[in-house]
């Protein structure tokens, strides 16, 4: 049975702005299925983004939506969640937005373990500005500002999130559409900071500079590099060369920030 996306879409907003073959639409659909699975109430849900292609997502969906400034989504979301902890708060955004200009906000949201679900769409590039390299652009890949190849090493987003203290960290790709909603739903159910990285394709700004002949080529690449964590346990380092682990990479229980602050309130009020 076809999933009824329309119930969560604002009328008259499609077709969306994303380029042909951009996986952001696939992730948006997965996000809506996850929200449906978890039974989130529209009025009680805030979806916050920064700036960039992925950050346009909130405009299409019928919730409390906040398209903030470049990199600042997690900080705005923290204010919403702290002020109204009963709300379900999601953040969506890209790699440059999330871990370059927004890197500080990202790691501190992880550290606090505030109860929100951060879906980071990593397409390896600044797409909206025309293809400059991001902290997730592979070393020696081509971008409009790395005409000789990218000398920078990358951020591994899940490792960054785990290191910073996020208590639920997962990864999948835009190709693995059935896994997207399952992981986001697991993140939504998790109490604390949940980070779900979705590796995505940018045919326009990344693919054409990096010898991908088509959208399909990029999708096939996402399929090839993904190795489920359980399968990886039985693979040699040589076999894992060039692969990325997918699935739930980390999960732990740790006090959630808004609940911690409730204790501050109790102490201040002399309880």
């Amino acid at each position: 049975m076809a999933f009824d996306y329309e119930q969560y879409l604002r009328p008259g907003k499609l077709p969306h702005i994303w380029c042909p073959g951009c996986g952001h639409g696939i992730v948006m659909k997965g996000l809506l299925r996850a929200i449906d699975t978890c039974g989130l109430e529209k009025n009680n849900t805030a979806i916050v983004s920064g700036i960039g292609c992925a950050s346009r997502l909130p405009g299409y969906v019928d919730f409390n939506t906040l398209h903030t400034a470049h990199g600042r989504a997690a900080a705005f979301a923290t204010g919403i969640k702290m002020a109204k902890p009963e709300m379900d708060v999601l953040v969506v955004g890209g790699d440059g937005d999330g871990v370059a200009i927004g890197g500080n906000h990202f790691i501190h949201a992880c550290r606090r373990n505030i109860d929100m679900t951060y879906v980071l769409l990593n397409n390896y590039i600044y797409g909206m500005t025309g293809g400059q390299f991001s902290p997730c652009t592979p070393t020696w890949a081509k971008a409009s500002t790395t005409p000789y190849g990218n000398p920078d090493p990358i951020f591994d987003v899940p490792k960054l999130a785990i290191g910073a203290g996020a208590t639920f960290v997962a990864r999948t790709t835009a190709f693995h559409a059935t896994q997207i909603d399952k992981l986001i739903a697991a993140g939504l159910r998790h109490k604390g900071m949940a980070v779900i990285e979705v590796l995505d394709d940018c045919p326009t700004a990344y693919g054409r500079r990096n010898k991908f002949r088509s959208v399909v080529d990029m999708m096939k690449r996402l399929k090839e590099i993904a190795v489920p964590v359980k399968a990886a346990a039985h693979m040699t380092p040589e076999q894992l060369e060039g692969k990325v682990l997918t699935g739930i990479l980390h999960q732990e229980e740790r006090p959630e920030y808004c609940e911690q602050y409730q204790q501050v309130i109790a102490r201040a009020q002399g309880a």
Partner: protein
């Protein structure tokens, strides 16, 4: 019943004023000389069930109060020059998305790290122009601890009424100065709460100007759902680049101030009626100016003080009227000439206008002002 009195620092008075106004959220970042505002809020807010959060940086502090404000909370942040420079990004966001909030700037020497423990009034122009793009600005400059309390309350009122960020400009002197303060009882000072949406959720548009220039802002988490963006937007909150809509939106935002100057502007005039020399001073330096005026009067010189409490919008009309009666105007300020530019502009220099600028971390003294007045006469 006698009112509760206390000996408070200006920064502390500011925090208690915010609590009186109903502030329920503070997002901050430590910076000298503003930190006491955060310290008081961290202690007092949780007692009321409010929330205090120390964010990872100044920008995040500003972001957090905007997120909180969208849920309906009255929200405050406090900082000083370097922090305000960082916050400028999201002060612009608060302007375009029309999110009420109050920003306290306890001014210190600059630019850059400058003189963290030295007083200054050199962020006056920043308070007006400090974010890119055309945008409205309200900035208040109280002089005493009692007035810091009451003007902080007024800052919250103006933020809620005009749906925009409001800055309270203190400086290292009046922020740290201790004075006796009488706590107003509830009801003594006006406290304005946010206008609520009354249309049905289906008909709600967050920037619908059909009923006036200041549309009601519904809260996140209520039955009203809407979109907020930093892009130029149409009445429904969604981005637009249609020239006529962008133009109308930009002009409406400035009109919120221009059409309501009388309600926003606030000045104090001291011995002004027959004054031949008018000293225009604000904040801490207005205290030196007042003393100087008394000294000059004793010497038979007809001096008066014009003290804008609202710096932005600048009280253009009254300033121009006063210039018509004056032989000279003296503008002492702890910078190298900022508000004097506005005085010169609005008076069209109908009389000589002289500034006293001081940026060495020391206040301008009454003697300096007395000397300058005698010089210009």
């Amino acid at each position: 019943m006698a009112k509760k009195v206390a000996l408070l620092q200006g920064n502390e008075a500011c925090a208690y004023g915010a609590l009186y106004a109903g502030c329920s959220f503070f997002g901050g970042y430590p910076i000298t000389p503003s930190t006491e505002v955060a310290e008081v809020m961290s202690k007092e807010l949780p007692k009321t069930g409010g929330k205090f959060i120390q964010m990872e940086d100044e920008i995040a502090a500003m972001a957090s109060i905007l997120g909180a404000s969208l849920t309906g909370a009255k929200a405050l942040t406090a900082s000083s020059g370097p922090g305000i420079s960082l916050k400028q990004e999201l002060i612009g966001y608060a302007c375009i998305a029309e999110i009420p909030c109050v920003i306290v700037n306890v001014m210190r020497g600059g630019p850059s790290t400058g003189m963290p423990t030295g007083p200054s009034q050199s962020d006056v122009m920043q308070a007006k122009w400090g974010t890119h793009g055309d945008h409205p600005a309200i900035a208040l400059a109280p002089a005493s601890c009692q007035e810091i309390f009451s003007e902080t309350v007024r800052a919250f009122n103006l933020a809620e009424i005009y749906r925009m960020p409001v800055q309270v400009l203190l400086d290292e002197i009046n922020g740290h100065m201790r004075e006796r303060i009488e706590f107003p009882e509830p009801g003594d000072l006006e406290v304005v709460d946010r206008q609520q949406a009354t249309v049905s959720p289906a008909d709600y548009k967050p920037f619908d100007d059909s009923q006036g220039d200041i549309p009601p802002l519904a809260s996140f988490g209520s039955e009203y759902r809407y979109h907020v963006t930093g892009l130029n937007k149409a009445a429904d909150g969604f981005p637009t680049s249609k020239p006529e809509l962008v133009d109308a939106e930009q002009r409406r935002q400035l009109r919120k101030i221009e059409a309501n100057r009388a309600a926003i502007e606030k000045n104090e005039e001291y011995l002004i009626d027959d004054a031949e020399v008018i000293v225009v001073a604000y904040g801490t330096i207005s205290r030196s100016a007042r003393y100087a005026v008394d000294v000059l009067r004793k010497e038979g010189i007809k001096a008066g003080l014009f003290r804008p409490i609202t710096l932005w919008p600048f009280p253009e009309q009254r300033m121009a009227e006063l210039a018509g009666q004056a032989k000279a105007i003296v503008v002492p300020e702890m910078n190298l000439g900022q508000l004097i530019l506005e005085v010169e502009r609005v008076t069209r220099r109908v009389c000589p206008i002289e500034g006293i600028g001081r940026v060495d971390g020391e206040p301008i003294t009454p003697a300096q002002i007395v000397a300058k007045v005698k010089e210009v006469l």
